[in-house]
Structure formats: C-alpha cells, structure tokens
C-alpha cells in the first residue's frame, strides 16, 4: 500500500498553484488535507504524476464577499475549525451540526472543508449542507475565476463542475436568518458509512405559514438531491403537510441500491428521516 511515484510541488501562492495546475492539468492532483486523496494514492486508485500541495500557501485571499449574509471558508480551513460553537460555522448551524459526523477527530485535524466540497462524495454531509443552504463554490484557474452554485456543482459520483485546471479557492455558506435546521443520519456503523442523510431548513412567517422550506437528501443517489418544495410553501404546518412532504420524498427522488442497502430501504429511510426532521422543527404544529 505505497503510492505510485509522484513529483511534488509546494507552491507559495495561489497564482503559483494555478500555474502548476494549468501546466499539468489532469496529471496533477491538489493536496490539501489529504484525508481522501491519501488513501486513494496509497491504494493506487489515484496515480497522478504530480501533487500540488497547497498547504504552504500563506495568507489566503478570500473572494470578495457577495454580501454580509454569508460565511466564506478558504481552501485551508480544516474541518476541526467548524466544530466549536464559536468556530467558523458559528453562523451556519446546519454545517456545524453535521461536523461531528464528518470523518473522525483525527482526520478532521487535517481534512479541509473545501476538500470535502470538492471531492463530492455522494455520502458526505458537507455537500448536502451546501446544497440545502444554496451556497456557492468559488473556483479559480490561470484563466480567471468563476462562482458555481452548489445546485450546479455536483454532476455525478465524485464528479463536479471543477475542471482539472481549477482550484476551489473558497466556499460560500449563506447565513439564513430566522431559519431553523434539522438533520438525521443513518449509517452502517452509527453515523459512519452513511446509508441515508436528510437535512431540512424551515422558516415560518408571523402567521406561522411556511415562508421557506428546503429538504435535501444524500447517500441515496450519485449526488446530494433537493426536493421540490414549492407545493408546500405558504401552508401552516400540520400532519397532512408533513405526510405530503414525506410522500414526495418517496415518489419524486431516485434511490440507488448497493452492497449496503437496497433502493427500497433507502426510499423508506429517507421518508422516515425527513419526517423526524420535520417533527423536530414543527413540534408545536396543530394536530398533535
């Protein structure tokens, strides 16, 4: 379990890193935390000819903040920095409540937030949080920069909009005011080796009507998925409303089968976890 030979470059600036990526393209891999790339290298699933180690880049410059309504995490923010109540996700409770389920204590010390977003593991929590929050991925290459909404970023399993010449320089996490969040996860070992994860964001107006509802699920398909919640906006949450949302989860999303669970198991679990999230967020609803 030793990696195949690779050349190694440790650029000192983002510009230098982007030049290397432009030069080597798909032959290069970006090394940030290395908690996913390391195993892939050691098992020779990935055999890049050059590693571009971004850890020596000092003083990351963040893209211009789109507004005061978001938090930007640059490419060297470690996952452990998102755990503490006063950490980087202090104003992004959905991401913060997921952090303890991301890897382990020891891998969070090294693994990065942007790395998890860029890798796009279809069972990972952070891509789901970014999708539910309608966040943005900031990409840069030697040719320029662009911002890709999370809903367009994930294409398929471990496949994203990012081209090999591009670096995820930052991820933008919207702060959703007056919104409450819930998430539930089922895995092969507790919350590890995830089989299904549901995340719900809910905002109600003064009359108790639903002003914003987002339901996201992951580990059920080749990428995180959002439910179309338009039919459920404007209502006062009650048991029928909750049941209709869970029915929509069952009927309108696609589910995959694999060695760990059948599509039917995931379909059932997705509805149950969504129901539990909704129950947590509407515990005062009528009809109970």
């Amino acid at each position: 379990m030793k990696p195949a030979p690779f050349s190694y470059a440790a650029p000192r600036s983002v510009g230098e890193a982007l030049e290397l990526l432009a030069r080597y393209g798909a032959d290069a891999r970006i090394l940030a935390g290395g908690q996913t790339l390391g195993p892939m290298l050691n098992m020779r699933i990935a055999t890049p000819s050059v590693l571009v180690d971004i850890n020596r880049i000092a003083g990351w410059k963040l893209p211009r903040r789109a507004s005061a309504q978001s938090v930007l995490t640059h490419a060297l923010i470690r996952q452990r920095e998102g755990i503490a109540p006063d950490g980087i996700f202090a104003e992004v409770p959905l991401a913060r409540m997921m952090m303890p389920m991301v890897g382990h204590y020891q891998t969070r010390n090294r693994g990065t937030v942007c790395g998890s977003i860029a890798h796009g593991d279809p069972t990972a929590e952070l891509p789901l949080a970014l999708l539910v929050l309608d966040g943005t991925v900031h990409l840069a290459s030697a040719k320029g920069s662009r911002a890709v909404p999370a809903r367009n970023f994930y294409i398929g399993p471990l496949t994203t909009e990012r081209t090999p010449e591009e670096l995820v320089v930052a991820v933008e996490w919207p702060i959703l005011a007056d919104t409450r969040f819930a998430f539930r996860e089922v895995g092969v070992h507790g919350t590890h080796s995830t089989l299904c994860t549901a995340a719900v964001a809910l905002r109600t107006d003064e009359a108790g009507r639903v002003a914003d509802l987002r339901v996201g699920l992951t580990a059920i398909a080749d990428r995180p998925l959002l439910l179309d919640t338009a039919p459920f906006i404007g209502e006062v949450p009650n048991d029928d409303w909750c049941r209709a949302i869970c029915d929509a989860v069952r009927s309108s999303l696609s589910f995959v089968s694999d060695m760990h669970a059948s599509a039917e198991y995931r379909r059932h679990t997705a509805a149950v976890l969504t129901e539990r999230c909704l129950a947590e967020l509407t515990s005062d609803r009528a009809g109970e």
């Binding site: 379990m1 030793k2 990696p3 195949a4 030979p5 690779f6 050349s7 190694y8 470059a9 440790a10 290397l20 090394l31 290395g34 908690q35 390391g38 195993p39 290298l41 050691n42 098992m43 000819s49 050059v50 590693l51 180690d53 850890n55 452990r80 303890p100 890897g103 382990h104 204590y105 020891q106 891998t107 010390n109 090294r110 507790g190 590890h192």
Partner: protein
Amino acid sequence: MTIDADQEIEVSFTLNGKPVSARCQPRMHLADFLRHRLHRTGTHIGCEHGVCGACTVLVDGQAVRSCLIYAVQLQGAEITTVEGLGTDQELNDLQKAFREHFALQCGFCTPGILMSATDFLGSNPDPSEDEVREFLSGHICRCTGYEGIVRAILATARARSAP
C-alpha cells in the same frame, strides 16, 4: 520548485524535541519515514489508508494519520511520537493509566491511541465518556473491546484535573 518523483530530498523536522533529518522520495509517507529512515519503530503501521489509527502521531500538536501525510510536507514541522511520551526509565501518566486499566493486550494499536488521547486531553481536559468514545471511533483495537481504554483515558483526565 518541483521535486521529481525519483529524486531523494533531505527532510528535516523536530522529532520529540530533537532535530532529525533524512532523505526520501516524495511518495514516502511519514510512518515509513519514521520507521525506515529514522528507525523509530514505536509508530505502528496498520491499514495504510487512514482507517485503523495505529500510525497516529502528533504533527504540530495535533493527532494525524502518519500514513496520510508525506514526509516532504513536513519540513520544519514538530512531530511527536509515542517515544516522546515517557522516558526510557518511566512511562508517563497516560501510559501508566493504560497499564493499570488493562487498556492494551497485544499493544499494536496502543501508540496511535496514546498519541490521539494526548491531543484530545490537551484540548478537552474534562471529557465526558461519550466524547471519549467519539474520538476513539477513529481507532481500531481488536483485543480489548475498548472498555479499558475508555477507563484509562477518563482516569487520566480526572487525575490531571485533581487539585
């Protein structure tokens, strides 16, 4: 500057408080560098893909998998391994607690768990049992069933915070 794949370069860092250096190719991970270049065999290698936790060491004070970090990345870093915990004559308090609470049998996973616990207790001096079990989920021990390890870590935390 790019280091070619077959080029050996000099890597220098601080190991358990002393400067060390040796040559290696870019693809050599820290665990192999410690064992085969520096001949410090206290760090054990289990799975080599970050799952088992046996190779955990401290890099600049934080517990990390030494199989998932390459020696070339560590120029100037401060590395602590199990050899840095006690002395040749005496175990440190955490190691003694492991012995007292039967927290090891074959001992293969122990160096990694000791290093993780060193970081964990440093940042969380008064952990709950659940917190200890959560951080231990990053380690695999096939002998003890973890009970003794949890007891040893909690006992160390209590003893350290006693007046």
